[in-house]
Amino acid sequence: MSIDLGGLTLANPVMVASGCGGTGRELAAYVDLHELGAFVTRTITLNPRAGGPVPRILETPSGLVHAVGLQNPGLEPFLASELPQLVQQGARVVVSIAGTTLGEYAELARRLGRAPGVAAVEVNLSSPDAVASGVLDVREPFHAANVVAAVHRELPRGLPLLAKVRPDLIRVVESARTVLEAGAAAVVVGNALPAAMPDGRPAGLSGPAIRPLALRCVTEVRDALPDAAIVGCGGIADEADARSFLAAGATAVQVGTALLHDPTTAARLARALTTDREVIG
């Protein structure tokens, strides 16, 4: 019994959230990557990014505050070494992307659309420290939709586009609607919440602290857009959490922070929810 996420077929509804699965090599010690619904890569940009200064990640009660600054090797080295390694492990690879211009987004889409083994592209429209870290400002749903349209145009037909939007209750329905209209096959709700490091640097807040908020956002999007394919993301740590997101109308879930605490989380969830589907399905 597999899952259809706007044309992306998943063996189970558990995905590794962007930026929380390393290169895939590290996680492979704790889970066979092909056992997961999908592996979303850290956000890849056209050119390499060194990332921000330390400290990059701090604990708060029930959450992590982070400003990694989208450190990544850039598209070329990613295609040369990271992607083939993920594909070889049998992962359903979803490549997360961000750009500084619409042209960069188009270029990323063109190149990834031709790369063997890419199952889908996830456009990161919601990086909480994005503006400070120099990617295109897409906080307005209209701008986000422009990016989605530019990426959609360049992707081969049949390669699904996931749009990851902010878990901002006031605008999340509008964001979801516009990106779906612009060509997204599914909407990921959502990302880390905009926050700050103690020294004031822009950062994101993730983990159990944001779970109720993310759940509310999923509920709102489901109510307003009954046909949308939704991926729930934010603070999911155990089977009960994942089930509450699925019950609220998510087709799949992404797990981030919980994986940093316990690298076996994704494997356990995938197993629990796979069996479940088989029994019901």
Binding site: G19, C20, G21, G22, T23, R25, E26, L27, A28, A29, Y30, R42, A50, G51, P53, V54, P55, R56, I57, E59, S62, G63, L64, H66, V68, Q71, G207, T257, L259, L260, H261, D262, P263, T264
Partner: protein, 290 residues
């Protein structure tokens, strides 16, 4: 050609297990913990560490970030097989919680993690420099080096006697032991940086291994370079996941290809070649050297 054989990271995969605290003992300023963590000791190589969850397994109060501890020894304990020994300095909430645990407590443990010390291909003279709790991984390294016929010289440092890892134990596996304390309570008075040049000269070491605060590692790397020795430095950075997933622990280095980049302390390190680390940037980034 490097005289050390670089270990590959991927050969021994880490495990995530529920372990049990078998014994706990106060030694000076530290707590020595003996842990049962099935499968982890068997995979250990000197320079590896474990990540421990702070908070009882399954409780709601666990901290999200893991805490890393050097594996100090792997010792068989009757009825349990090989166990792990950790040296914990109670400083903040995580280490204090660990130090306060009673035998029988259960712990989430991931390991062994990280790139271990590279061993020399030939039986050469080696200098091992350890400061505070960070001297912990050097003791099993010393044993491994001795087995290979290397002459082992030790330089053990600490703030005072209480923060010195047992030099007595060290004497068993070393040819020469130098002790330095900041307050002069044992051995020479001063810092590693004050004496490393001299010790290195006397030991004629071809390879220097170091574990300790960043400033100490830097001093060792500089001294090694001056003496034409290879250095292997065990770099501690604040870790969140400790498993290579989050990119929260960057160390600025110059790669094999001569290109400057940032690697992960936990997964690409913690042991890195001293001549590859961009120390000025690392020390600046990490704020005041500890």
């Amino acid at each position: 050609m490097s005289p050390v054989a670089e270990p590959t990271t991927a050969t021994r995969t880490p495990l995530h297990v529920t372990g049990e605290l078998l014994a706990t003992k106060k030694v000076g300023a530290y707590r020595h913990l003996t842990l049962v963590a099935p499968g982890v000791p068997e995979r250990f190589r000197p320079g590896n560490f474990v990540a421990v969850s702070i908070g009882a397994p399954g409780s709601d109060t666990t901290r999200l970030a893991r805490r890393a501890f050097w594996i100090h020894q792997v010792k068989p304990v009757g009825g349990y097989g090989p166990t792990l020994q950790l040296v914990v300095e109670p400083t903040g909430p995580g280490s204090q919680w660990l130090a306060s645990l009673a035998p029988g407590a259960r712990l989430e443990v991931t390991g062994p993690l990280g790139r271990p010390f590279a061993l020399p291909k030939e039986p050469v003279s080696c200098l091992l420099v350890g400061e505070g709790y960070a001297a912990a991984p050097l003791f099993p390294l010393a044993e491994r080096l001795r087995e290979r016929g290397c002459a082992v010289n030790l330089l053990v440092a600490g703030a005072d006697e209480a923060h010195l890892l047992s030099a007595l134990e060290a004497r068993r596996s070393a040819r020469a032991v130098t002790v330095v304390t900041r307050d002069g309570s044992v051995g020479l008075r001063g810092e590693v940086a004050d004496v490393v040049d001299d010790v290195l000269g006397r030991s004629q070491a071809a390879v220097v291994y170091a574990a300790g605060p960043l400033a100490t590692l830097h001093a060792v790397a500089v001294a090694a370079e001056a003496h034409g020795a290879w250095s292997q430095t065990a770099v501690e950075q604040p870790l969140t996941c400790a498993t290579g997933l989050c990119q929260g622990c960057p160390v600025p280095v110059v790669g094999e290809d001569g290109v400057a980049r940032r690697v992960r302390a936990c997964a690409d390190g913690p042991v890195l070649r001293g001549d590859r680390v961009r120390w000025a940037e690392l020390l600046g980034e990490a704020g005041e050297p500890r």
